[in-house]
């Protein structure tokens, strides 16, 4: 248990610091790389919770594809290597206030609601349980997501076409 908490602490610290990096860095590519760390940390947290499948999906989809897509987008929109001006707009301070207030409210709410509830992990969730759930209980959402992906595919193609 202690080992798990240590791992959690290390991952969480890395994630939070990287997340702050994502929203404060002046270099767009660095932001994407920070995001990689956050997401990889997230995958680590999933492993910690015994949810193996979703962890590797996160690695495959997010880090393997989404981030690459981001980097792609950045490079295609000609990001400067050493930006001179800030990447923030004039909402910096109000935004900070609102975000901190949001975290405060959420945190207070969570602490109030769950206090010391423990997660009792018996065994890691087996992949077959997940797939069974997807193809039995959640078959219609699954199909709908399929249609959504198709729509997104077509939409992206239509949007990005030059003619």
């Amino acid at each position: 248990m202690i080992a798990q908490n240590v791992v959690f602490g290390v991952l969480a610290a890395a994630m939070v610091l990287s997340a702050i990096g994502v929203v404060t860095t002046k270099n767009v590519v660095h932001a994407a790389l920070y995001l990689v760390v956050v997401l990889a940390g997230g995958a680590g947290q999933f492993l910690l919770l015994g949810q193996e499948f979703v962890a590797w999906v996160q690695v495959l989809v997010y880090i393997g594809a989404v981030i690459v897509l981001f980097l792609f987008g950045i490079m295609l929109t000609r990001a400067p290597m050493q930006p001179k001006e800030s990447l923030d707009n004039d909402l910096k301070w109000p935004g900070l206030v609102v975000a901190v207030a949001l975290v405060g409210i959420l945190g207070a709410l969570l602490v109030d609601a769950f206090e010391d509830t423990e997660i009792e992990l018996e065994a890691p969730t087996r992949t077959i349980e997940v797939t069974d759930a997807v193809f039995r209980t959640y078959i219609i959402p699954f199909e709908v997501v399929g249609i959504l992906l198709l729509a997104a595919l077509i939409g992206a193609v239509v949007l990005a076409r030059k003619d």
Binding site: A3, Q4, V7, N27, V29, H30, L33, V36, L47, L48, G50, E52, F53, W56, V57, V59, L60, I63, G64, A65, I67, V68, L69, L71, F72, M75, L76, M81, Q82, L121, A123, P124, R126, T127
Partner: protein, 348 residues
């Protein structure tokens, strides 16, 4: 530590050994492939005399010479480079290769972590190398490098899909994503009631195997899919600014990944360390622990031979042809293969 990585928590030695093996296997594999195929096979195929010359038998110390050459070269950092990212990129590429070997079994007990979703894990971590490639391409502050990085990213994303889809057929047929399970399935299953040679999935999943090999070739950015590093157009693409030890990292990454993919292909399609005879998880466990690595190695070399054969034979594609091949041919073929496998699985 983590409940899923089934590492024996009597750790100390076990974990240490496993880490060392994983750390050692990648450079070693790169070395073997580099020597056997890049230096010897290519020289024979293309009648190159240079690499055959130094040393006695077939110029055997050419490789040592090359290694020493890399080590003694100056470490150059381009002036406008993004230093941290530039330095980190080769490490990311190599790391993704290391991680693949975590799940590849070489015997009933010779595996670092027999993950439940082994195949999936292997494909997931192998996709991490794209990030490293893009980092290298971008951080070099060089337009050839950037172009190479972009090409590499586009190519790796495009071929990631057929690679994953090609494996799905195997997963459906074996009914598990655990690599040990897939090996066991291939040595236990029968072909129309005949169990003499087990069921190497290359027989029923030949389409999957073909798609996998083509996609793997592209993932490795080898000819005929080497546009990202095309010397004649991009003077080595994203690697153009790397020298010495950092370049060696990329080199190890490339050949190590080839080693990893051949291991994956051998495990998924050729039965891995298994043989159809014996009882690997029962009485013959020790025997297979000893025999397995050798068997796997032989099968890997066969697969690697096919890869490099293609590499040294075919000329380069054009960029649009490359994308068309992935999206218009490999992915549809892989999808049809999945559909057919699913239907047949239900039918039989």
């Amino acid at each position: 530590m983590t409940p899923t990585l089934a590492v024996d928590i009597g750790w100390g030695t076990t974990l240490g050994i496993k880490t060392l093996v994983v750390l050692g296997i990648v450079p070693l594999g790169a070395l073997i492939l580099g020597y056997v195929f890049l230096l010897k096979m290519m020289s024979h195929m293309q009648s190159r005399l240079g690499p055959m010359d130094p040393g006695g038998f077939h110029g055997w110390y050419q490789l040592i010479g090359d290694g020493l050459k890399f080590l003694q070269k100056e470490d150059i950092m381009p002036e406008h480079a993004d230093r941290k990212v530039f330095a980190l990129a080769p490490a990311v590429v190599v790391m993704s290769t290391f991680l693949v070997f975590v799940v590849i079994p070489a015997g009933p007990r010779i595996v670092v972590a027999p993950l439940d979703v082994g195949v999936f894990y292997a494909l997931a971590v192998s996709s991490l190398s794209v990030v490293g490639v893009l980092m290298a391409g971008w951080a070099s502050a060089n337009k050839y490098a950037l172009l190479g990085g972009l090409r590499a990213a586009a190519q790796l994303i495009a071929y990631e899909l057929p690679l994953v889809l090609a494996v799905v057929g195997v997963v459906i047929q074996a009914g598990t994503m655990n690599l040990q399970g897939i090996v066991a399935y291939q040595s236990d299953a029968e072909i129309f009631g005949f169990g003499g040679i087990g069921l190497p999935l290359i027989l029923t999943q030949f389409v999957g195997f073909a798609v996998f090999m083509v996609a793997a070739q592209a993932e490795l950015t080898q000819p005929p899919f080497d546009m990202p590093v095309a010397e004649s157009e991009l003077v080595s693409g994203y690697m153009v600014e790397y020298t010495g030890f950092r370049f060696l990292f990329f080199f190890i990454g490339e050949f190590g990944t080839a080693f990893a993919f051949s291991a994956l292909a051998a495990t998924l399609f050729l039965g891995g360390w298994g043989l159809p005879w014996g009882d690997p998880f029962g009485t013959d466990q020790l025997l297979f622990d000893l025999l397995g690595p050798a068997l796997l190695f032989v099968k890997m070399m066969i697969v690697a031979f096919l890869m490099f054969w293609a590499r040294f034979t075919y000329p380069r594609f054009r960029e649009d042809q490359l994308q068309a091949l992935a999206w218009k041919w490999l992915i549809p073929i892989a999808l049809v293969n999945i559909l057919a496998t699913g239907v047949l699985k239900v039918a039989f």
